[in-house]
């Protein structure tokens, strides 16, 4: 599962509990019910807590040790360096397993709502291998979580697995986001196949003011796409799904993961997107995340970004000349021709991002998204090197 968890010490809890970590400002603003917050009494939080304050009906207390908590009240203590938890974050305290899971980070750049582990595809490079389990309970769990997320959070991603497998549950979740987080941009990662199979896209139409569907498309013909997602007929379903979303007036992004067979026809895929889906708002071309199934298929999937420069440049030029907005994700700047730098985004979630020793001396490191934390030498481009004596061109 994506959200990080850690062993912790705790006492006084009657069952798993989702709570928001309260700093004094969260208390003062009064946006969240006290009963659903834990007061941060840790030394590092350095907040003065009077007896009157601790007497309020907090769900519990986040402490360094049990002696800090008021007598008889639930408490939880995280071992040093186990898990960073700060004011504003939402955590789940699970007394049966003595674990704490972090579900939302106030300072995070890429918070996710993990909708389901189930998926109807089985992609060769899946970073989040699916499991066929019954986890409909997540809908209520996520709705509870949404209520504890900051109103001014800029963006959230609903992902899985395949979120549309939740059916009406997904609509409920989106509606809940619309009620509690109307200003937050919601991105749903979905393969769109269910919309091509008769579940009307209108089921989800526009209950949220700022929602976009991010749909992966790997080829301009069925055989290659179906191989990548390991599912015969998937291409046809996704294509029909894209049209169903368009008909329901939904905003759409197309995502392409740059594994070797896909890069082989990338310019053709760009042309196919423009000719057949000119209504999409954004095309994201993404480097592979070397985890999950991808690791087992390194020989079939890996292509050094250095060797995709030509295809990538052709595809990016083609799309951007046609007013289709295009971005590059997960590709370090030193592996890209400079003319593509303006398209590169710092896309890797901060908690999975790292740099290599070679990056120490790099002048554009601040603009660069770096690498996935789990990158190994065999997934590292031969072009990784510090950029010097140059200036990032911010415009194009």
């Amino acid at each position: 599962m994506h959200a990080l968890d850690a062993k912790a010490f705790m006492g006084g809890w009657t069952g798993p509990t989702l709570v928001k970590v309260a700093g004094l400002s969260d208390f003062a603003e009064g946006q969240f019910p006290i009963e659903r917050m834990v007061l941060d009494l840790r030394t590092r939080a350095r907040q003065h807590a009077s007896a009157a304050l601790t007497a309020l009906p907090w769900a519990g207390f986040l402490v360094d040790g049990p002696e800090q908590a008021p007598e008889g009240r639930p408490w939880v203590a995280l071992p040093a360096q186990a898990l960073t938890v700060e004011a504003g974050d939402a955590i789940e305290v699970r007394p049966q397993t003595n674990k704490v899971a972090r579900r939302y980070r106030r300072s995070g750049n890429n918070n996710i709502l993990f909708a389901t582990e189930r998926c109807n595809s089985f992609c060769v490079m899946c970073s989040q291998p699916p499991r066929d389990i019954q986890d409909d309970w997540r809908v209520q769990h996520l709705c509870d979580l949404v209520e504890l997320i900051d109103r001014d959070t800029s963006a959230l991603t609903i992902t899985g697995g395949e979120p549309t497998l939740l059916g009406q549950g997904l609509r409920r979740l989106i509606e809940h986001c619309a009620t509690h987080l109307p200003q937050t941009h919601i991105q749903v990662l979905s393969n769109g196949r269910n919309f091509g199979k008769g579940i009307p896209a209108a089921t989800f139409a526009a209950p949220h003011p700022s929602l976009i569907w991010a749909v992966p498309l790997y080829a301009d013909h069925y055989a290659l796409h179906d191989y990548i997602v390991q599912s015969s007929g998937a291409f046809a379903e996704t294509v029909r799904g894209l049209y169903a979303l368009e008909e329901a007036r939904q905003r759409i992004e197309i995502r392409v993961v740059l594994v070797k067979p896909v890069v082989g026809r990338l310019p053709e895929l760009a042309r196919f997107i423009y000719r057949n889906f000119p209504f999409v708002e954004h095309v994201a071309l993404m480097g592979t995340e070397p985890t999950g199934f991808a690791k087992a298929h390194r020989d079939e999937l890996w292509i050094d970004p250095t060797d995709m420069q030509e295809s990538l440049t052709e595809a990016v030029d083609y799309l951007s000349a046609r007013d289709l907005s295009v971005s590059l994700y997960n590709l370090p700047l030193c592996t890209l021709p400079k003319q593509l730098w303006p398209f590169a985004k710092r896309s890797i979630s901060d908690w999975k991002q790292r740099y290599l020793p070679a990056c120490e001396a790099c002048e554009v490191r601040q603009q660069c998204g770096g690498l996935f934390a789990w990158v190994t030498p065999e997934w590292t481009s031969r072009s990784i090197h510090p950029i010097k004596g140059t200036h990032l061109c911010a415009s194009h």
């Binding site: 055989a223 179906d226 191989y227 291409f235 029909r240 049209y243 067979p261 053709e268």
Partner: protein
């Protein structure tokens, strides 16, 4: 793990051909252009094309994927999908949705010019019986709002529409009052020589966001020769009008069209340089139409369509060099054809549609209350053939659509069904023009091998595709930028000039 290799997803063996048309390239007889039902296309060798048609393609060759991606063949139809082909078709033909968007109001036939090529059969200045009456105007406003289109372009034409400006003011006010409840997006255009433009007229146009479309045939000697006024100062007056229009309405509000006479054909470079000198970024190079006074003076002013195509090729090369030198200038008809070739989108040009734009894309409300499906139909009527009149302005639009004239137009108005067009590789990108064929050949269906309309279309498509394919990288980029600009200016109707 249960992963399967690529061949496991190939589906059943073999493939089927989808509807396609082809054309041997005039500049390379060993290759063909192959187009799909919806106008997607590919260039390939004749040998490859023969193999494709004979079902000899191998699964692992890129061409096999290319032809699927462009909807020319389908492999394993149970696993694949034709949804993109259908979507492309709907997108390409989107102009038939919503009905006519271009509404031409002929407020007066009077004019102070005596152009030999006039397509309209203008009338002398004093003849007020050639002005649109208040009653006809009021009916026309009623009719305008009977059409369903959300976007309407209202274009005032003549004669010289400025000679009856009071009627324009009345129409604009009536339309705007009615639109308070209708809430359509309405754009006003006036096709005028811009001569004798008064300050009051200009400020009225500014207040109502008019665009101006005028005629400028080229440098002074050519313009004055083509467009005589007794004072011999048409060019100077037009320039003054353009300048004043730009000052009050903005640089982009003023566009100009060129009508090409036989004299013009000798001056492609001079015409383009004149437009550049005047700061235009767009030029329209239009051959003469076989209507109005142009018909009577054909032997003096006319020319075979081949001469026009030779002219256009020289003009295109000069335009490319102007663009390469850093000055953006496009030719509007070429831009529209390139938009058809290089984008999936529909277009706003009413004269190049299938089904035809006559009556389906445009309506003309003539000065005397007669309604026509196109400017050409009104011009034919002024020559004595009123068979394309849809009806009168006091009748509801349903009556017009049920008229024998409209039935006759529709019967010859779908290019895909016309003899010779039906097999042409360019037909998904082209249009039907039954009224033009009647005017030129005496028959709405016409005979393609001797049709000037067809020669012009084929000639321009061939020329533009050849330049796109064989030109330098920068030439290709320039032509593509025209095409993309065409789609950015969302379905903007082309204007007819007075």
């Amino acid at each position: 793990m249960r992963f399967a290799p690529p061949p496991a997803f190939e589906g059943e063996a073999g493939y089927r051909l989808l509807p396609m048309r082809f054309r041997r390239l005039p500049w390379d007889e060993n290759r063909v252009l192959v187009t799909s039902l919806s106008g997607d296309w590919i260039l390939m060798s004749c040998a490859d094309f023969a193999r494709a048609v004979d079902k000899d393609l191998r699964r692992d060759e890129p061409l096999f994927a290319d032809l699927q991606a462009r909807h020319l063949i389908v492999a394993d139809s149970a696993t694949s999908t034709l949804a993109p082909l259908l979507s492309q078709y709907r997108t390409r033909k989107a102009y038939i949705e919503q009905g006519p968007k271009l509404h031409i109001f002929v407020v007066s036939l009077r004019c102070h010019h005596t152009c030999a090529y006039c397509q309209v059969s203008r009338q002398p200045l004093g003849q007020s019986q050639f002005d649109m009456s208040g009653e006809a105007a009021a009916y026309a406003v009623e009719r305008l709002f009977e059409w369903p289109a959300r976007e309407l372009t209202v274009e005032f034409q003549g004669g010289e529409p400025l000679l009856h400006f009071e009627r324009i003011k009345m129409l604009v006010k009536a339309i705007e009052i009615r639109n308070r409840h209708e809430d359509r997006n309405i754009r006003f255009v006036i096709a005028s020589t811009l001569h004798d433009l008064t300050d009051d007229q200009l400020s009225f146009m500014r207040d109502h966001h008019f665009d101006l479309s005028t005629s400028l045939d080229g440098p002074e000697w050519l313009h004055n020769a083509n467009r005589p006024r007794p004072e011999k100062d048409s060019y100077r007056r037009t320039l003054v009008g353009i300048e004043r229009g730009r000052k009050v309405l903005g640089e982009h509000a003023v566009s100009a069209l060129t009508t090409l006479t036989r004299r013009s054909l000798e001056a492609p470079l001079e015409i383009i340089d004149e437009y550049r000198k005047l700061g235009f970024h767009s030029i329209s190079l239009r051959p003469l139409s076989p209507y109005g006074f142009a018909r009577k003076t054909e032997t003096r002013n006319g020319y075979p369509i081949g001469d026009f195509l030779r002219f256009y090729a020289v003009a295109l090369d000069h335009l490319l060099s102007v663009n390469r030198a850093g000055y953006f200038m496009e030719e509007t008809y070429g831009r529209m054809l390139l938009g058809q070739l290089l984008t999936p989108f529909s277009h706003g040009y009413v004269d190049l549609r299938s089904p035809t734009g006559a009556g389906l894309g445009a309506v003309v409300y003539d000065y005397d209350g007669t309604v026509y499906p196109s400017d050409e139909a009104r011009m034919l009527a002024s020559m004595g053939d009123r068979s394309f009149a849809l009806g009168q302005v006091d009748q509801p639009v349903t009556t017009w659509l049920e008229s024998p004239a409209m039935q006759r137009i529709l019967a010859a108005g779908v290019a895909e069904t016309l003899p010779t067009c039906a097999d042409c590789a360019y037909v998904p990108l082209c249009g039907a023009d039954p009224i033009d064929h009647l005017a030129r050949q005496g028959d709405t269906i016409g005979h393609r091998p001797t049709s000037d309309f067809c020669r012009k279309q084929m000639g321009l498509f061939d020329l533009l595709l050849e330049r796109w394919e064989t030109g330098s990288g920068s030439d290709r980029q320039i032509l593509e930028s025209w095409a993309h600009r065409a789609t950015r200016q969302e379905a903007q109707p082309e204007f007819e000039a007075a």
